[in-house]
């Protein structure tokens, strides 16, 4: 029996699954739209139910209508909660990814490219983030950068593990261009290997450009 609130529940089940994943699954644009449509339909129903009463509805004289109104109202409220919780779960995850130093936008774009080559662009090049979420990530990233900028001598998102060695061996997984270090410039081309100071490349390791060896 399909019922009001069922779609919202599906959305929350997606959120539940998202909580246990390390990455962010694709945004359920279709479901979100359907739930929002349901709310609009319910609102229309309520308006047409109340219309004949001209603003003088007395619940105790027409209990059947009162009950219908209550059911509609509760369904809308339920859908609202499902929608908010779904989006909140995702933004929580996005914030976590930003704090961990992942380039979220880059990652989701890459995944799309990978998926598209397999499914031959069935989804028409959509990212796993909604446009609003991409905006959110961008602005949250800016906010975090501004916050971190207050302390130049501490990297708030740096590793909490004290390094065992000052210098480490790294292998380059993706071309990352030229970086400047205290010991001069290094050109990071794919598959090359370097012995570098850990502090110089920590960021690049977190972003997946470099792999730590040994």
């Amino acid at each position: 029996m399909p019922m009001y609130g069922d779609l919202g529940n599906k959305l929350v089940q997606h959120a539940k699954r998202t909580q246990n994943l390390t990455h962010l699954p694709p945004y359920q644009a279709e479901l979100v739209r359907a739930v929002a449509r349901e709310v609009r339909d319910l609102d229309k129903d309520v308006a047409s139910l109340l219309d004949p009463f001209q603003g003088s509805f007395d619940p105790s004289t027409d209990q059947a209508t009162a009950c219908t109104l209550l059911v509609n109202h509760l369904s809308m409220r339920r859908n609202k909660r499902c929608l908010l919780a779904y989006h909140r779960t995702r933004t929580d995850k996005l914030e976590e990814l930003v704090w961990n130093g992942y380039d979220v936008l880059d990652l989701s774009a890459q995944k799309t490219r990978g998926a598209n080559s397999m499914t031959a662009g069935a989804d028409g090049g959509t990212s796993s983030l909604s446009p609003q979420e991409e905006d959110y990530v961008r602005q949250y990233g800016d906010l975090l950068a501004a916050y971190k900028g207050q302390w130049t001598d501490i990297d708030l998102t740096g590793s909490l593990e004290p390094p065992r060695d000052l210098f480490i061996d790294v292998r380059v997984l993706k071309d990352a261009g030229e970086i400047q270090t205290e010991y001069g410039a290094i050109n990071l081309t794919k598959n090359s290997q370097f012995y570098v100071r850990q502090g110089d490349v920590e960021r690049l390791i977190a972003q997946g450009y470099l792999q730590k060896l040994g």
Binding site: G5, V12, Q63, T65, C67, T68, L70, V71, R78, L84
Partner: protein, 198 residues
Amino acid sequence: MSYYDIDSILTDAEKIPCTFQLDIPDLGYLDNNPGQALKSGTKIALPLWLAEMLAIANLGDDIDQDKSFVSFELPAAVGNDVVQALKADPRAVPLRDQSPHFYGLATHMMDLSEEQELGSVLRKTFVTRAAEIALHARKVGGTTGSKGGPAEEASNLGVGGAGEEFLRGLDEWERKLFRKAHDGSKAGKEWMDSVKKR
């Protein structure tokens, strides 16, 4: 139990058996009969988020006429059979089969109904099962560091079968407890190892 809590929302989707107390022309779709009136006395399983408010909404100004839109019964998950089984041995009941959010559902029902016994049965159930959960959480994947040697490891493997059965029956809340206990003992062991290395 925050507004945004996913498990709390899923708990509210659990259905309980309700009986409508009056005819409602527009709600036929709830009984799979869109377009038809919903007759008084119709029994429908409604999700908690709907049933709860319908059951406590009081009709009219008559205080002595204590009537609401629906009356409800205890769902089977916290029904007499389950309660009796829990009284016999809390560890033997796979709560997950009753409801993935067993405790959440049960506490909701305690708020709604005047079931006196349920609370104490639940408390005993949780305490007994929590001890068992803690025991399993320490064992899973943690045999290498134990001081007991090969004999204890062997016995751990022995309980593995029955333990799995028990762990599969945990409800969401208990699963969280299990994960926390497991991560805790694992982190503790890792720290001890890193201290020894230095």
